[in-house]
């Protein structure tokens, strides 16, 4: 039965994940949908996971694989912090994630974005896609929804943004991807990491800006029946 097949499919996070550096730190953003085939298994998942006090990772791809990788890296970083005697750097966290992803590339299916702030380098974003490449970037996007954002970022990204500009950019980008990607949805979660510490923000789906052809939420059947039908496509 088709439905059964979908319920037994591996739990994957269709996803849109973003990491952006700004003048003084980083902003990480993600949607909140976890899908099993065609069913939304969790509409309020938290894809931005803590690795240390100052380093967070955005997870995409297989839910199980990304959870296990981040659990192991958190454990290694904890030991490393004890041995080092001071907070771990973002680079070390990213290196550990890359080590696990690359050495187990045959069995893992997960794309991650590591972002954080440390006193040596400031705010840094590292992208670790499928296969286990490590690439340091001023901004990184990942997940199935990222396909719709490459052009957007080419146009909208600029160096030296302020914290608010960067956060608004991330929220706008995730909400654009949610509008176009079926596997992304729910709410937009952002995490801002800088010298002062970590701030989590949450933007519910119905409070986001409406894009092209998106309708206001409608509660009454009368509204739905009376709304104009969409224009037919011109071929």
């Amino acid at each position: 039965m088709d439905l059964n097949m979908h319920l037994n499919a591996p739990h994957s996070m269709g996803t849109t994940i973003i990491g952006v550096t700004y003048n003084g730190g980083v902003v990480l953003g993600a949607d909140s949908r976890t899908s099993t085939g065609m069913y939304v298994a969790n509409r309020a998942s938290d894809k931005i996971t803590q690795l240390t006090d100052n380093v967070y990772v955005c997870r995409s791809g297989s839910a199980a694989d990304s959870q296990v990788v981040s659990d192991y890296v958190r454990y290694f970083l904890h030991q490393h912090t004890i041995q080092l005697g001071q907070p771990a750097t973002v680079k070390v966290a990213a290196y550990l994630v890359r080590l696990l992803s690359y050495n187990n590339k045959n069995i893992l299916e997960t794309g991650l974005i590591v972002g954080g702030w440390d006193k040596y380098e400031g705010g840094k974003i590292y992208g670790i896609p499928l296969g286990g490449t490590l690439i340091e970037q001023p901004f990184a996007i990942g997940g199935s929804g990222s396909s719709y954002l490459y052009g957007f970022f080419d146009q909208a990204w600029k160096e030296g943004m302020t914290k608010d500009e960067a956060e608004q950019l991330v929220v706008k980008a995730v909400s654009l991807a949610i509008a176009r990607d079926g596997a992304s949805g729910g709410v937009v979660c952002t995490v801002v990491i800088n010298l002062e510490g970590v701030t989590r923000n949450f933007y519910p789906g119905d409070k986001l800006q409406l894009w092209h052809e998106e309708l206001e939420p409608q509660n009454s059947l009368l509204d739905i029946l009376n709304s104009p039908s969409p224009e037919p496509m011109n071929i």
Binding site: L3, N4, L7, P10, H11, S62, A64, V68
Partner: protein, 317 residues
């Protein structure tokens, strides 16, 4: 992935070679024997004092219902219970194993088990077997840090949620939860909502059925309400009970005595094996001797009496 020519010595860990062989065989048309699955609707929700878990009670083996009243809410610790969907053997084995591990851990630490401990033990095990241990679980409990509810998928991923449903009936149950769940439910409201969600699975999903089990866990303790609701009673039993056709005490020996001796004896001993009676009657003015064999009706004499039917001219039933 390139096919390597060099033989690489196997590293440690589980070998999935036979799993790949099974997949190849299935593609060629050879299907493995069907096993007992719990098609299932399992749910959990967090209410104001703790956690409520619910499950249906049908176990299926392909299209057949093999158990109409199985238990899907498994004990993990005095304060932690786990509902299981998927292959029945897998859910039972994995919850049993982790329950023992938790007991040992309690001995080592001297403390009450925490729900996240059970969660980590389960997810580690399931991830190691890469989804081949087909157990989808709803884990709930109350520990020192408060009430917790988690879902665990066969591949090892977990979610932490205020309300959750799993199994083939999860869509039906989730529809009920999404429309009626709110934070801060009371105990009775919670039980009613859980029952409604399970019933929705029972009546709308073919893999779920029979009765509703509920388990309420709070800081004070747990309450396992087995068969809390039985919305599918057996309606086709006759009120008078069933009787089966009688073969003993119907009057065979009595009949023979009357025919041969022309007398009636109200009380007879039980016929052992076979008894012979004889009588002369005349048919068309010719004398005919009748040999009448009175066979015992009891089942235990069946092998003996059967051999007397051969060559008989007449059989009286």
């Amino acid at each position: 992935m390139s096919n390597s020519v060099i033989e690489v010595p196997p590293k440690g860990g589980f070998s999935f070679d036979l799993c790949k062989r099974n997949e190849m065989l299935a593609k060629k048309g050879l299907n493995p024997p069907s096993f007992r699955k719990t098609g299932t609707t399992i749910v959990g929700l967090i209410f104001q004092d703790g956690v409520i878990l619910g499950a249906d009670t049908r176990a299926t083996e392909g299209p057949i219902v093999c158990d109409k009243n199985c238990e899907k809410i498994h004990y993990m610790a005095p304060n932690i219970y786990c509902c299981g969907a998927g292959t029945a053997a897998d859910t039972e084995a994995v919850t049993d194993m982790v329950s023992s591990q938790l007991q040992l851990h309690r001995y080592h630490t001297g403390r009450e088990s925490r729900v996240v401990t059970a969660l980590t033990l389960l997810k580690k095990h399931l991830f190691n077997y890469q989804g081949y241990v087909s157990a989808a679980l709803v884990l709930g409990g109350v520990d020192v840090t408060g009430p917790h509810l988690h879902t665990i998928y066969p591949h090892g991923s977990t979610d932490t949620l205020p309300f959750a449903t799993m199994g083939s009936g999860s869509l039906a149950a989730m529809a009920v939860f999404e429309s009626k769940y709110k934070e801060g439910l009371t105990r009775n409201e919670g039980i009613e909502l859980v029952t409604e969600a399970i019933c929705s699975g029972i009546f709308n999903d073919l893999g779920s059925g029979s009765n509703v089990d509920v388990c309420v866990i709070t800081k004070a303790g747990k309450e396992y309400l087995r068969n809390h609701l039985q919305p599918n009673p057996r309606t086709y039993t006759s009120s008078k009970g069933y009787s089966f056709p009688k073969k003993t005490g119907v009057g065979k020996s009595c009949l023979l005595l009357q025919f041969t001796d022309k007398r009636f004896q109200p009380v007879h001993d039980l016929t052992i094996g076979v008894e012979l009676g004889a009588r002369m009657i005349s048919i068309d003015d010719k004398p005919v001797g009748l040999q009448i064999w009175d066979t015992a009706g009891q089942e235990s004499f069946r092998p003996i009496t059967r051999s007397y039917y051969r060559g008989a001219l007449l059989v009286g039933l």
